[in-house]
Amino acid sequence: MSDILTPAFIVSVLAAAIAAGTALLYACLGELITERAGILNLGIEGIMLMGALSGVAGCLWSGSAWVGAAAALAAGALMASIHAILTVGLRANQVVSGLALTIFGTGLSAFLGRNIVGVPPPESFRRLDVPGLAEIPVLGRILFQQSALVYISFAVTAFLWWYIYRTRAGLRLRALGERPEAADAMGIDVTRLRALYVIAGGALAGLGGAAISLGTNPGWTEGMTAGRGWIAVALVIFAAWNPARAAIGAYLFGGVEAGQFRLQTAGVDLSPFFLNMLPYLFTILVLVLSTREATRRALSAPAALGRSYTREDRG
């Protein structure tokens, strides 16, 4: 065991944590802005799968990973628009609609992807060192010897943090989730904006799928997201609806994933089945702890989360 805990090993695990956590981060940010707008989307797993498939398909069709990423964004947005129509437009039950989206996305991606299972995409997002920054000792290796999708996720996280906490539009977004009645009274079109955020969130989750299928694990296989969409939903609670904390959570899980793989190759004497349980058990633990913390420090969910808004019901 002593050869595991060398500095070089730790740095490589941290770098791998960021690489593996990026898919989770995109998905988590997508769910985060959706929930900030007051809508719960449990369809993230299905959206990610469609994103992963569309990423590979787009890349196979065009030869470019960037086209694949764009296809994943579009597929995510399209999937989420079903949820938007049902929950925002028709005020359907958000829990059941999200579950339906996951079941639908799982089945549809398996059906549509039947002919490209295991076909390697012609291009994927490979390591792309940032000139200069990559040479910084330790930090350079961890943060700046990553792929383009990772760098974009840094930017998206920073942008969303700024957007939510520092702009007028972000204030409106928070109003949608906290008090849609007040937002409506302020002249905000609640229905339209909520729908837009659900769709934008779906696009991010779709890109999260492509971060796997064109990033860490190139190619398409059925159900390849393996529950990451659900972990992303749990992470939003850990993140207390804050994009910066979402990044911390996503990298923590990326670390569990990366560490689990490395423990396996280091020959740790634990059944791989138990090692594979770690991310799921860890999710439960993190969820319980962060729910407790959220209650104690009043970092609660958007007040109107999960509640559909109808003007007629306004009290």
């Binding site: 049902l86 339906a100 639908f104 799982t106 398996a110 039947r114 799921y280 319980v288 306004r314």
Partner: protein, 372 residues
Amino acid sequence: MAEPGLLRGYRIERVPSPPRGSVAIITVLSLLAALIFGGLVLALSGENPLTIYQAMLSGALGNWNGVAETLVKTTPLLLAGLGVAVAFRMQLWNIGAEGQLYFGAIFASWMALYLAPGAPGWLLVPLMIVAAMVGGGLWGLVPGILRAYFGASEIITSLMLNYVAILFSDYLIHGPWRDPQAFGFPGTPAFPDAAWLPRWGTTRVHLGLLFGLVAALLLWFLLRRTRWGYEIGVMGENPRAALYAGMPMARTIILVMALSGALAGLAGMSEVAGIGHQLQRNLSPGYGYAAIIVAWLARLHPIGAVLVAFLLAALTVGGDQLQMSLGLPAAIAPMLQGTILFFLLGGDILTRYRLVKRTPALAAVTRENEPA
């Protein structure tokens, strides 16, 4: 209030309690719309939807063999669907039926192979039923406790436990419970004959179906005719009122989750004792997830769940047949299941709201009531 042009002169009114007839009509229309939409998706991906639907229908219900297979698949869908329905009644979103099914199967196998392998059938089968309900119940209890005492979302915890249960089952099959004499696919040794549920004639339809029907009746009685069933409904619809009425929320959350898990666990027992006669990989092709659709399509009604479980079983068997007859993936079935749920959810708005023509007097009243 600015009305959209389309609705000028009308207003949308909430229907207090939708009549049963209209709910049934909407359900059937939603099903049809879902099939049409699913057909479009299939057509767009270059398949002929009519050929596919016909192959699915004849595969599932076109001959006695198909009907029997549909009944075989009805069993786990019904039992797990009942479990999901009882939790959903209390607005407890237990989506861990899949894992609870696996744990039921694990406990039943434990009983049959290691705890009471020598017991005669009249004793062993009931023991396995109890073991499975305890196993599934424990697996449902965990998210229940985490929700009741820590406020952790049962949606996430119950789902995470699905993955854990399946991995644990795989561990047992590949590790301590592996049949050393087995070649090829790993699995436990076969159960003693006494643990095999009797089958109907030469078909694979087994006693588990009866468990499902009995469970549906018992659950209907529990929900409709007992005080506890009534309280579950109140706590789901209006937790604040339930709290003021002094109903024991935390205890009921835990009990309902355990009951929900126990029913799914029974589904797992009936699969291993009725079909596989051993614990093996891929025990369930997602029955626990389809159970959510069964529950919702049946409007959380236990008797309705019988019909819906049969319907979804036919869809599943039809999907399996596609693989053999047309070489198409069985994933078409879950895709259609998801679509059905979409249309059902969308169709529900027609039962919950109605358009009322705005008469001048009524319009004045509405305007008066509008907050400034």
